[in-house]
């Protein structure tokens, strides 16, 4: 920590200022020559590419994991499997996943998207299971009592009540996905990892610029998903939570 304090504030500000400069304006690469790096053009390209991969991977993970988790939660079976998947997902290092993929499967956008999707699945599956499972059984029985079919119960009772928990999983999954797609650059895909892991070409300012952009991308996903969660959460659930917080 003492080392941290001895660094003059000016040099820290300088680094971040340089990174912002890298984001805004083109410059000659560290290796000289004609290669132009940085600037809004390159940053925009990398952003579009990484955002697209992340978004597709998140949607795929959602399409695969949510139905399984919701179905298991509705039936009340497979708790061990649903929880084990979540735990196992945490134990797999993203760097290991990408490296193993490059070594044994191959490179390219399709492979990276699939690998990245795999790390999004565990939290979504586990949270979908838990969210549906913990819906008040009384509410489910009441729905059955007024003649709802199983599908209607899932769609109109369990899913709305499980929104906060499921979205919690989606948000964790999104963070995993943005983080992993960053190092997708090791598998030949255009993402900010290219800047972060390429200080020989982009310099320290490029590295910090890449890190800033990845953080912003992750925060954008987080805030967007938080907004979606707010829209999807039934008013009753929100009021109930506020009441619980007030009395806590």
């Amino acid at each position: 920590m003492s080392a941290a304090l001895s660094v003059p504030l000016a040099s820290v500000l300088d680094s971040f200022g340089g990174a912002i400069d890298f984001i805004l304006y083109q410059r000659i690469s560290e290796q000289g020559g004609d290669l132009q790096v940085g600037g809004l053009g390159q940053i925009g390209d990398l952003l579009a590419s990484q955002a697209l991969i992340s978004l597709v991977a998140l949607l795929l993970a959602l399409l695969i994991a949510m139905p399984i988790g919701v179905y298991l939660g509705h039936r009340g079976v497979g708790e061990f499997a649903a929880v084990a998947v979540g735990n196992a997902g945490r134990a797999v290092p993203e760097l290991a996943l990408i490296a193993l993929m490059v070594a044994f499967v191959g490179t390219g956008a399709v492979n990276v998207t699939i690998a990245v999707m795999i790390l999004g699945i565990p939290p979504i599956l586990t949270n979908s299971f838990v969210g549906v499972r913990q819906v008040d059984r009384g509410a489910v029985e009441a729905a059955r009592g007024i003649g709802m079919t199983e599908l209607e119960i899932i769609r109109r009772v369990e899913l709305p009540l499980a929104v906060p928990t499921i979205m919690g999983g989606v948000r964790t999954g999104a963070v995993n996905i943005v983080a992993t797609s960053t190092i997708g650059s090791l598998a030949g895909v255009e993402t900010f990892g290219k800047l972060i892991l390429g200080d020989a070409v982009y310099g320290n300012e490029g590295v910090i610029a890449g890190a800033i952009m990845v953080a912003l991308l992750a925060l954008t996903f987080e805030f967007a998903l938080a907004g979606i969660q707010r829209v999807l959460t039934p008013r009753g659930v929100t009021l109930q939570r506020q009441a619980a917080r007030a009395t806590a």
């Binding site: 920590m1 080392a3 941290a4 660094v7 040099s11 820290v12 300088d14 680094s15 971040f16 929880v83 979540g86 735990n87 945490r90 134990a91 797999v92 290092p93 993203e94 760097l95 290991a96 490296a99 193993l100 490059v102 070594a103 044994f104 586990t126 838990v130 963070v175 943005v178 983080a179 960053t182 190092i183 090791l186 990892g193 972060i196 892991l197 320290n204 590295v207 910090i208 890449g210 890190a211 800033i212 990845v214 953080a215 992750a218 925060l219 987080e222 806590a248």
Partner: protein, 243 residues
Amino acid sequence: MLETLTTLAQIEVREEGAGATTCQGKNDSFCFDYAIDNLGDYITPTLEHLVLVAISVLVGLFVAIGLAVLSHRRRWLVPVFVGSTGILYTIPSIALFLLLLPVTGRGTTTAVIALTLYNLQIIYRNSVVGLGNVPDSARDAGRGMGMTDRQLLWRVEMPLAVPEIIAGVRIATVSTVAIATLAVFAGAGGLGEVIYNEGIQRDVFKTAIVMGSGIAIAMAISFDAILLVLQRVLSPWRKVRTI
């Protein structure tokens, strides 16, 4: 064609006879002999990795408990702490490692700070949940015995919150083992060095990638098992679900 094949085979046999590593040069798949011959090379990165995980989990635990105690009687602090640590948690680890570089420089300090911040969020949330789950009857009993607020916290509430806190430590430790592979990009070594420097950067050397990944995953699973046992031992009166 047949002749070429024979020749190739002969070259391979000769390499083996000369004592050179058998399959490293080809890099067709995982080379068991190479991994065994060079087992010593993996010890230092493994130890570095263990140190990163141990320090960041322990520091995270102490700070998280400190924050939990601080916010225990000041409920308005809870959303403040959850919110601020939550935003940090959203920032991908590889970005956080590098954003800290201008401040703390390359090396173990940077990696430990970043990893600690992640652990803080997980353990703090679980501590708050644990303290919240303490039954009122237990609190009332403590009050009835004439305990002060402080005695109540350390002798009744904290011990009863142990299952959730350990559950948080368990989640934090397993995640940290995985995330710490990225510490190599902060210049802090660890198993990421085996996967990245020895593997990807050396023409995707498969043996190193498999060894580095395998040791990291095995370490995560071992910690998970050890902490599960610890959780049962420290709180024999109930089981807690860790989700």
